[in-house]
Symmetry: none
Subunit: 215 residues, 4 copies
DNA sequence: CATGAATGAGAGTTCATTCAT
DNA sequence: AATGAATGAACTCTCATTCAT
């Protein structure tokens, strides 16, 4: 989990407890109000601290999210970097990657959404978002190349295809995990395993086709 | 009311010219600054009108976007509703739908992004976003059911699969058309036709698989 | 007096009346509290306006003082530039210059002090202060050179001597006109004409000496 | 109490070492940032001490400066009080006084400026400043009376003339020693001995004139 | 004595919205 | 209808001062 650290400077036990409290409050407020509507004063209040305390630990709202996002980035990295398995079948491997990403979203969803939202308002978060995406695109493009060598999804640029793939995964995670958006829409309950099953099938399907395939 | 198309009240030629100017300015400012950062005063200035004029025509920023979004919604509807072609092959039909959606995005991108951004900040736009998505999901789910009758992508819920499909399309449009996001990332130039080609192939691929398929 | 203008942009009668009110209030508050302690909210209140109105006309406290200082600078320039009289006896001329400076201080004293105070806190006002001083030093150094040609105050650098002269005048004005400082100290009433008489005599005396003078 | 020299209470070796460190840090910070911008936390940090330690020794910023200023006041007193020499020629004596004042400024410049700055913001420092000035005015006025008895600078009030004289010296010191202001302005290097030479000549000149003098 | 995290009053600044002209 | 100055609620951020360890 490797949470903690990332605040401003060395501090004692008391200081890091406060920082943790502010971060936790930050996650809750961000989840509740979104990045744009989150107020520093609300974060402080939610943490049961004074406003000044917030500023002792973070320069502003941006820096708070930066710290939280770092945890998200690490979680994604740990989860996705892990299934090294180049040796695996590219499709099986992709399934693993999707599942990992899903897990990261499940745990850090609010932060992920906040970063996404912030990326629409703040150039440095836009950069961060591009970095995160780039990471995902690179990883997926490797599997696509492998698949192409076996004769699948030929005739498309691996990077472009990877970008499309990542959009599918990211936004599905966003819509389902975070916003719970389509659940109400479809009048169904959230069912992680069904959704992830469907998602992985479609991810794989999206690249496991041959130009010469016939019905 | 709904016929008067969003403005506030019946107005003469001068009034509607002003309203058009404000809408046009709104699109430019929204494109430039995003929904959250767009200021009423900037829209008025961009339109070459006084702030008071803005309020003569729109109650607030929300109403302005509502008016612009209505145009986007109609464009999507016209484009997507059009390829009625239930009679077509479901996959061919899906290709058409994707192309239509893409076109709508190309033309109304700034507004689409603004609505999306607003949906993160404002509950009524969140609703609107869900409506737009629901529309897309319903349309796609019909094709999926057709495909399933032919033995494809069986074993998955058509609505859930459709949601995933829509995420892929929507977010790819968002990333490429609007934010131009992955272009720099991949160090390539924008090439609409290549991207749309890849996207449609993957959309189709995502549902044109059989459980029993072998390599 | 040529007051007015200097605000942010073109505005109508109402706007410039408000701006004038804010400037007047600014002068009073600056006189009362000094630059450092002056609060925007106090200026607005003193002007009988809302805080927002202040910001409609000035970007911040610095800009307000800048506008007021410009009036002071012009007053000094008008007063001091005027006694062109190079043709005059350099000592008579100097007397005129001192009187002019005194008049400017009498009228804009509070602003002058505010600028001086600001120069201790804000680099751009420090620059302005140096500019104003430089202006005075240049003017006085011309008279000193003339005096030197007649055999007076030889053996000193005209600029350095001028700097000393300006210090005498400036700080005497500061102490007496503005702060009223030495009045209470000396247990006397302010008497402009006596003070200015003494000051001019000493200014002249400070350079009207000969190295070979004997008692 | 007065003997303990400004600190708060009787303290041991450790305490007074800390206090000395804080004072030294105070001088540096005051020189760097000025009185208004100096922050308690910066002084503590510069001293390598905790903020709490600062408050153990001084009630607030005002008290710190008071302690430092006391040292300055004593230096001025020691330097200026010393040249008792009423027996000297009043002009020679004045030269000595000016030189002494200059020396005090050279050594305690930062503190002197800080006190001056503080006097614009804080009534008790305004008082202190008046006291210091009064001291100087009293001393100089004695010489002026002596000069008047010899027929010089007759017809002016000795106290008023003395006030003008002190302004010349004080502000010249301020401008040159502390702010280094006119140096850059005049494009010359600092040259203590030249400046002090000029200054003393002008101080003497300012009172060594006769009403009946002819060119 | 030393420490430094915590506190919160207070100042600056923005911007949606109103309304008299 | 159009105008744009005026308004003030709502936020952000700073820093002197306290106090538990």
């Amino acid at each position: 989990m490797a949470i903690e650290q990332a605040g401003r400077s060395r501090k004692g036990a008391k200081g890091s407890r406060t920082e943790a409290a502010i971060k936790a409050a930050g996650r809750r407020v961000l989840a509740r109000d979104g990045y744009v509507n989150a107020k520093i004063s609300d974060v402080a209040e939610e943490a049961g601290k004074a406003i000044g305390s917030f500023y002792k630990h973070f320069r502003n709202k941006e820096e708070l999210l930066l710290a939280l996002a770092e945890e998200f980035r690490i979680a994604v990295q740990d989860n996705i970097g892990a299934p090294s398995g180049i040796e695996l079948d590219p499709f099986d491997n992709l399934r693993e990657v999707v599942r990992s990403f899903w897990r990261a979203y499940r745990e850090h969803g609010a932060v992920a959404v906040a970063v996404f939202q912030a990326s629409m308002v703040n150039e440095s978060f836009a950069d961060m978002w591009r970095q995160i995406r780039a990471q995902g695109i690179r990883i997926a493009s490797i599997r696509i190349r492998l698949a192409q060598r076996r004769g699948y999804c030929t005739g498309v640029d691996p990077e472009v295809a990877s970008s499309v793939l990542c959009s599918m995964v990211e936004f599905t995670c966003y819509s389902w995990v975070v916003k719970n958006g389509d659940l109400d829409l479809l009048g169904r309950n959230a069912d992680d395993s069904e959704l992830i099953e469907t998602l992985t099938k479609m991810v794989v399907g999206a690249i496991r086709w041959r130009e010469d395939a016939v019905d």
